[in-house]
Point group: D2
Chain length 377, copies 4
């Protein structure tokens, strides 16, 4: 099978997300990096692009040049990944979709709900894929939980309890470090800090596994470090369309937690527990029975879970290969397959609506507010 | 040292709490069971009392007889444990305190805040100990966390995150089982179900470790099983007097969880994690450093933790010995020592105030309400 | 039910094993401590005995006085616990059995195989119980494994892999500390160090769960700290009568391990994993199936496991209550019930034979030697 | 940086090891697959090669054709991976080294010690890299342990305890399944079953971390399933050149274990514990101190560990990226960097010598035998 042609915007030298995307795109041999505008410093970006094997004529100085030039080529890229600073996602993603490119956008897809709704419409009109990198949903065992819920194996989902908490911003003496500070500064981060950064991963996961969407929510925000305007700790209670109760805690001052992205899903006839730090196992308990340890790669899993796992049972696969699974799905969808499980622009706008709802709720001390984008009310 | 004389009300044949108290009182040789009114069926209670070695003249048919007779004896019991149905705790506890007995009351201490305040006053006037069985606070490693917080080892406590969740009432087909049903029926259980049953243990623990008290709270209640009037799942956000943020989740429909009583405490310079299912370890992380596994019995722990541990490091001690530690503390206090760490009537009334506050908040969709008993406002 | 009368030899002030026995005997109200010769310093022993509530006439200065006096009483003790230094176990145990007392002896029961065989015979002739404190075998979930094996639930046992390893003697600078040194000095400890101290617990457990006995073994001993004559690390391979393969590692220089007493049992149709630091769970895997977490207190366990557990599922019970379970069994046996699962003198002599076999094998660089006492060959 | 040109022998359609190598070579963009002889069925191999993007003129029907053609090209491949059936490794590896290619050979490198010594000499004479895929040694945290030992952070290594045990061949009813059977049949597998298959990974790891080599060993082999000629369970005790004691258990009938590759390393002043199922953590205990959880990606790790980790702390990286790390090291070495940590032909021949030593020892019931290849005695 021919490799697909892939272009990247952002993810230049020294970025953390860049290598993760390159590994994800290349690992399974689906994509070849042929074009890029990798840095806001045009010269630096071109140089780095060439060091990655991109030919000089496709090592662009900025995304507008790339858009123009690639649009004009017969052998234009099949997919563009947008991994630039958050505030630029909307404009770039929209432009490439408009021009007929498939796009994978880093989260958050946009800075406002209105922008999000616009992206949904543009993608639909263009008939192009707009995926958003909620990569945790691409772990094999997460797909397995979604599959089991859809099959009714735990009955109606009563309750989802999730958290995405770490302590890496817990040191007040480090709070002015520029790499940390911008996240809690509304000038740079927008309306929300920790909830918009990590919480929306957990919220997406809740919807993804439950197969349902958030309808309304109530939030309690805190800035544990006083100098911060935006929240570094948040609790969000929510209800899904089908009545499922949700509880989501996210924090960046939980000293000792490395990356506590855990989710528990409780239904009428069973429950699940999954943790991102041990992503290859699911603890599953049928009501009245014993907890069973389900293992990635075991016999009898769904085709979906099996398809996204590369090595045998008990050989752990980790985060970079969850990102790679997003690219596996993208390659399949670009080649004409289903994009059913790919997180997309609708997920992107729902996240943004939830962020704004949580901010509004927190301001009114936990008032319940509609968490849906207007277009889905 | 002479054994102290101990009497029991409730905890008759077939009860679960009875044996736990007897083991707790006897394990370390501090108390001798010499009197009891063990069952609401007088005959059955007397018979069972005698089978436990209580002499016939102190095997009482009801607590009133016991109160009268013991009050009249020179060798009256030193301590009375009240382990009767919840609704009777107030009356019995009050009567024995009034008559000059030390009391250990099962939780909840009372059914209303007013009753709770009355107990506080009665105990104070009588100059007697009124302990309440928040036994989780008596684990050595819980005492160690309290000690470390008091010593400032994690700085100001920013955040406490705790849950006490299980799935043992998650089977809707079993919801009419009388052993389960009463807990969610306001006629029998009072104003709250799961929060009053398990949540208040977690809330007490938060205060106990942080060395601070809950000031206000906001609650979200759910009845996952429709036939239930009272909540079987609750999320409570709170603030302590000193500004600490609290998050407490409690559930009885979390299928697969056995008894998830966990607490995480995050301060300015460090964090803790402790779980009741592995009570002999604390995971402690100094800010910027590695997580360390602290072990019950290790060198260098506080005197308090060392005093309450019986066997060497890595020999686990469990729940019944946490109950026993309450009796160790009671014996010491009765013999004239400090009762500083014993959960007491003030804790009991604070719990009840929190329960009523949570119920009120949940009814008004999460409105923040004062969680303090009037006497402490 | 009347309490049984209990006497203790050894376990004086400051001993670690003494309190564990007192808690074990008292916790469930089966025994009352009425007599004791608690210290080799007669005066100190008597004083301490009285502080524990023993009446002065039964607070003895030495075990010979106690033997004489108790033998002469009508209300003589029902059980004697021997918790003196290892080298004295044989003489005292033998004397009390001879005089018609039931005995619980600390391990090792004797210092030689010949002595062990003598105890077996004396106990049999006297018709008295001689129990040995292999208390790990009294955990409810250990009894459950034994039961499941006996029921054929994992088929023929192919393989037992166990270890009892810690690092508490791993500091060479501390090796001359008298509390550590004696264990590796043949003058005081006998022929073996770590294997005789901890390894025999693991070996007993292997036999107990498999329901089979060790026939022959091959040992590799090491003294990681040079100044030690006896081994501080040992690996013992063995074969049981029925062909089961065994592998046992024991160490006291495994820095970072607190008390790694783990056992894995693998049969034709399933496997188990149990660890003493989390004694309330068994990980059970049927061949071809998922690993299941079995919990102490869950529905459907054997009567034996249920009988020995005091509090509900997920309320952990620990080491002191495993010791207490030995006393539960002793009380039942003394009152005429079965002593089927109580570790006894036969277990004691088998351990000693294994110790001598391991020492002999290690001297001949792992030569396989018969591990059975002559009386069972 | 230009991609290196890479060729593959074996690893055709349906193989498990093939995709792992392709992911490993491609993930970080170091290698481009340009040539291959992927299947013993020439036509099938060519077709599959083309499907992977190999141009038809470099999609070879067998390795001899590939050797001839690639040797003749100016743009010959920089590296050849040998992932064919075990018995062919020697001949192919030798031929390509002889012709001046760098080689990565799957384990076992050869079927005999003599062959292994020949490979060592050929590689040395050719001045080419002959790496062997002991990929577990390429996990960042394994490299960290090796680094710490080399820095003296745990003092002299006293003891290494390791196991590589699973239960995937534990079902006797499945023993005749051809995918399982060949492993225990000397006609196909050679002199050893489970020890040669999994044990040598653990043995290599012991040497790798300790920075020392195995001198002599004593083995106990068992065939738990009777129909097997070769062992499915083995215990190997060993001594390293510097006196370190080793204990290695390997099994394929340990039902319930998925892939228990664990290693514990105990030195004079500290100990480590690492498990392949959770490869991103090391549990480290300084003597007399608390166990610390070291995390991949934490601040302060060695350059070596940092270099081989791609995503931030607490984002797990798994087995396929350990394989990828071997390719990272290969790329660096081919480009002129150090190959110091790459497992190589010397490791390959040492493994084979240990296998033959273990077989000989097991036949003589555990006799200690020299485990070194003649060339290193």
């Amino acid at each position: 099978m021919m490799k697909l042609k892939w272009g990247m915007i952002g993810g230049g030298e020294g970025s953390q997300i860049g290598p993760a995307h390159r590994l994800g795109a290349q690992a399974d041999g689906n994509f070849e990096l042929v074009a890029g505008a990798l840095d806001h410093d045009a010269e630096k970006g071109r140089k780095y692009a060439e060091s990655l094997g991109i030919s000089p004529d496709r090592a662009y100085g900025n995304w507008r040049d790339m858009l123009a030039a690639e649009s004009a080529r017969e052998d234009r890229v099949d997919l563009v990944t947008v991994a630039t600073p958050n505030a630029t996602h909307f404009e770039i993603t929209k432009a490439f979709l408009d021009a007929g490119f498939h796009v994978l956008c880093e989260k958050p897809m946009t800075m406002t709900v209105e922008q999000g709704e616009e992206i949904v419409q543009v993608a639909e009109e263009a008939g192009k894929i707009c995926a958003v990198n909620y990569c945790y949903s691409a772990y094999p065992m997460v797909r397995e939980m979604r599959h089991m819920v859809a099959q009714g194996e735990i009955g109606k989902v009563r309750l989802v309890v999730t958290n995405f908490s770490h302590g890496h911003h817990g040191d007040a003496t480090d709070a002015d470090n520029p790499r940390v500070r911008w996240r809690y500064d509304p000038e740079m981060a927008g309306v929300s800090g920790q909830f918009a950064d990590c919480g929306i991963h957990a919220l997406h996961m809740a919807s993804f596994i439950a197969g349902d969407e958030v309808r309304e929510l109530s939030a309690d925000f805190a800035s544990a470090i006083d100098s911060r305007v935006l929240e570094d700790d948040a609790m969000v209670n929510f209800r899904m369309e089908g009545g499922t109760v949700g509880r989501l805690w996210t924090s960046s001052v939980a000293i000792g937690r490395q990356h506590g992205f855990d989710i528990q899903v409780f239904g009428e006839t069973g429950g699940f527990r999954w943790a991102s730090e041990q992503p290859n196992q699911v603890y599953y308990t049928p009501v009245g029975g014993r907890t069973q340890i389900m293992e990635k790669g075991e016999n009898g899993l769904s085709d979906e879970a099996t398809r996204l796992s590369r090595v045998a049972i008990a050989h752990p696969e980790g985060f970079p290969l969850a990102v790679a699974n997003i690219y596996v799905d993208l390659a399949a969808a670009i080649r004409g397959g289903s994009s059913g499980n790919l997180p997309n622009a609708v997920d992107g706008v729902r996240s943004m609506a939830a962020v704004y709802a949580a901010v509004a709720s927190a301001k009114e001390r936990g008032k319940w507010v509609d968490a849906r984008p207007p277009m889905f009310r």
